[in-house]
Assembly symmetry: C3
Homo-oligomer: 209 residues x 3
């Protein structure tokens, strides 16, 4: 079989990953919008649920293509990990939105807004890294994006510490502390998971290197 | 060496995984029984400890066989992951039982009982998926079981949200909230880990596909 | 290219892992010292931050060497996992120190001290296991160290249960319970992560076996 026969499969995987990355960015745009309005109501949750569902569908398409494809652009296991971890980002944002509603945490919160901006920056870099896999012979773009993701994770780590310290100082109600502590830690975890995805991207680069 | 020489090793691995799956189901039967009685006392913990120990022994037998076997029915790493994650299910059920006793959470609790029923359904499907690995040329059985596990995980996710929402509404004592919130989240995590195991089973299928 | 040309690379990896293991032990010595004094202040955090930074640098050197080396002493993915999980140990100890300061948990605490002794024992065994990878044809040393790490993890599990039970009995302030419960669980998690690292070491042994 001539080599070009394989190319369509490769392109398909890259296209699917691009779509999954776009869906992740879309979910974060949505989350950031709600954070800025300070509203996590039923219609917000419904929009997030839809995005989560769409991200899930793309992940399933990727796994399906994997089952039906003999040659893949990189390791089968890496395709598996990458799509699952990407899906985790969207899952987590959806879970946080649901928790905000469940805890009836209403009103604009500057810290939630700040986290949502960091998450936005991180997923934009992540999207660049993932789309860079198509041209892995120019690894600088990916490497720069991954350095950026790592930096943002460090900033979010410090933000969480500052915010939780303030929480214990300002709030005397233990139930409010339980709720907000969880939300802030979940928000920081989104940045951790973005970094996990970027580590998978780097390890794919390493193997192709 | 003729090919049939290898077969005994393959059979041994499948037998060991069957035994580990059975032990997991046994642990859940035990947990469900205690949940229905509403009693997590010393004798309950002792029975769970024994089951956890037996599951551990089987996991060790699998790793030992791995060390002494050249040809394995599937990837060495997958055998490692599968046995470790299966052991995690039993570990977690044992940990929840210990936490129930530690927190002195006595009496029948309809939500704990509902979770125990979902866990029962999930591990039964998981057991079917694992036993299906023997006949991976008929992947439909495994795929159906894994779809079922995924469905149950979604249901348990919703159950946890409903139950935690009710908890924050009904209880005013923050210490009671801390305890029950943890128990409900651990119970839901069992379903997550079952789904993790089923994902490993699927990824084994993918590689053999 | 003659075979001996590859040897330097192998030695380099082992040297880097030895250095990372030493850095981990150093971080734990530091943590144990602060636990014994009962002081987690700015100068403590600064020392821990430095150690965490140094451990991070070694991890980056390992990944860099991986990118520039064709032949490695064991699987590229295992090198990746091992260095990342080792880094997690130091990260976690640093995070616990920061949390102790953030929560203003001052004064000597016998339970924190007991955990710090268990962590010390575990990382010492872990260091032996990692340094044993150089001579993987004598796997007994590694296996014994890993059995020891597993034993310590079991002990720490029981310690955490006892300590948390006592916490709920002795403290009536929910906010104090929230803080200490988190610290004790993080301390126990260090032992879990040490066991995770030892499992990676064992799985490297298995593949080379």
């Amino acid at each position: 079989m001539p080599f070009y026969k394989f190319i369509p499969h490769e392109i398909k995987f890259f296209d699917l990953f691009d779509r999954q990355a776009d869906k992740m960015v879309e979910a974060v745009i949505c989350f950031k919008e709600f954070a800025e309005k300070g509203i996590f109501d039923d219609s917000c949750i419904e929009r997030m649920r839809l995005l989560e569902h769409q991200s899930d569908s793309i992940a399933h398409d990727i796994i399906d293509s994997l089952n039906r494809t003999f040659i893949t652009p990189f390791d089968r296991e890496d395709i598996h990990s990458l799509t699952n971890k990407l899906d985790d980002v969207v899952d987590l944002i959806y879970a946080i939105s649901k928790r905000m509603r469940l805890y009836k945490l209403k009103g604009k919160n500057a810290d939630v807004q700040e986290f949502s901006r960091l998450i936005m920056q991180s997923v934009q870099s992540l999207s660049i890294a993932i789309k860079g896999l198509r041209n892995h012979r120019q690894p600088q773009t990916i490497q720069q994006a991954c350095i950026e993701i790592n930096k943002i994770e460090n900033i979010s780590d410090q933000l969480r510490d500052v915010v939780i310290q303030r929480l214990f100082k300002s709030k005397k109600d233990p139930i409010a502390i339980i709720k907000w502590k969880e939300i802030y830690e979940l928000l920081e975890t989104v940045l951790d998971v973005c970094e996990d995805v970027s580590n998978i991207v780097v390890s794919i680069l390493v193997k192709q290197g």
